[in-house]
Symmetry: C2
């Protein structure tokens, strides 16, 4: 139904939209603003980077690193650079995952046990989920988010 290459292209489309969402934030609001006591978008991005960085690397190579959700930058451009650098690494990491390993169970970060397939779907869903919350933050700030359906 969906090949590995198709899933990768789908994910890369989401990554591009998330990059535009980071870029749309006012500098301060990215690190300080939230609604209803939730995390800032920068904190959510830190979680997403932990999954698509160290998490994906563990799926691809088996090498386990700690789950680190600390915000890795204090300026928007630096966070965006880290995001784009990680996006470039995603393609080579997904290439290393063999399609025969898709149903293999992996206890990611020593904590979260699912199949490789479900981990990948979770990574993508979780990005869509938090980016959508950032869309609400942007609306609350009076900023128009990028179009949801545009993925380039």
């Amino acid at each position: 139904m969906i090949s590995k290459q198709e899933l990768l292209q789908h994910w890369l489309g989401h990554r591009a939209l998330t990059a535009k969402t980071i870029a749309a934030f006012p500098e301060d609001a990215l690190f300080n603003f939230s609604v209803g006591g939730m995390r800032t978008f920068a904190q959510m991005i830190a979680e997403l980077l932990a999954l698509s960085g160290e998490g994906l690397q563990e799926l691809a190579t088996g090498e386990q690193k700690p789950f680190n959700e600390a915000v890795p930058a204090t300026e928007k451009q630096a966070l965006l650079d880290l995001w784009n650098k990680n996006t470039a690494a995603i393609t080579s990491m997904v290439d290393k995952i063999h399609e025969t390993d898709i149903h293999r169970s992996v206890k990611l970060f020593g904590q979260y046990e699912f199949s490789v397939q479900n981990h990948l779907l979770y990574f993508i869903d979780n990005e869509v989920h938090h980016r959508a919350q950032a869309f609400v933050y942007l609306r609350a700030l009076g900023v128009e988010p990028p179009p949801f359906w545009l993925r380039d």
Copy 2:
């Protein structure tokens, strides 16, 4: 990488979480509350039902109906009943889609032209997207959303 049956199960997990999200809303807020001038969650649910109802039916049978985003209920329980009824129909509609048709291009509602595969992925993404926005609404209302990772 992902079979049709696996994608369906993945979607049904999201449907269950969205049902719990509707149920978590205070009766009035579901139809009246929003943040930053956005739509209410009931209005978003109406859009999701148009896609997973008439939209999915068009993918499965070719029968084209108008895109109707009117909110189809005025009470939470009635909206939830419509959601659950539509969820039950999803399985039989997805069953009708042949895997050989996955890359066939369909101009849904006479407007949106993508492959069957991309339409299905969009339906799921769009549900995750709007439900995540409802999570922010719930937090702003002081209500704890259901856990994102629980899908049953």
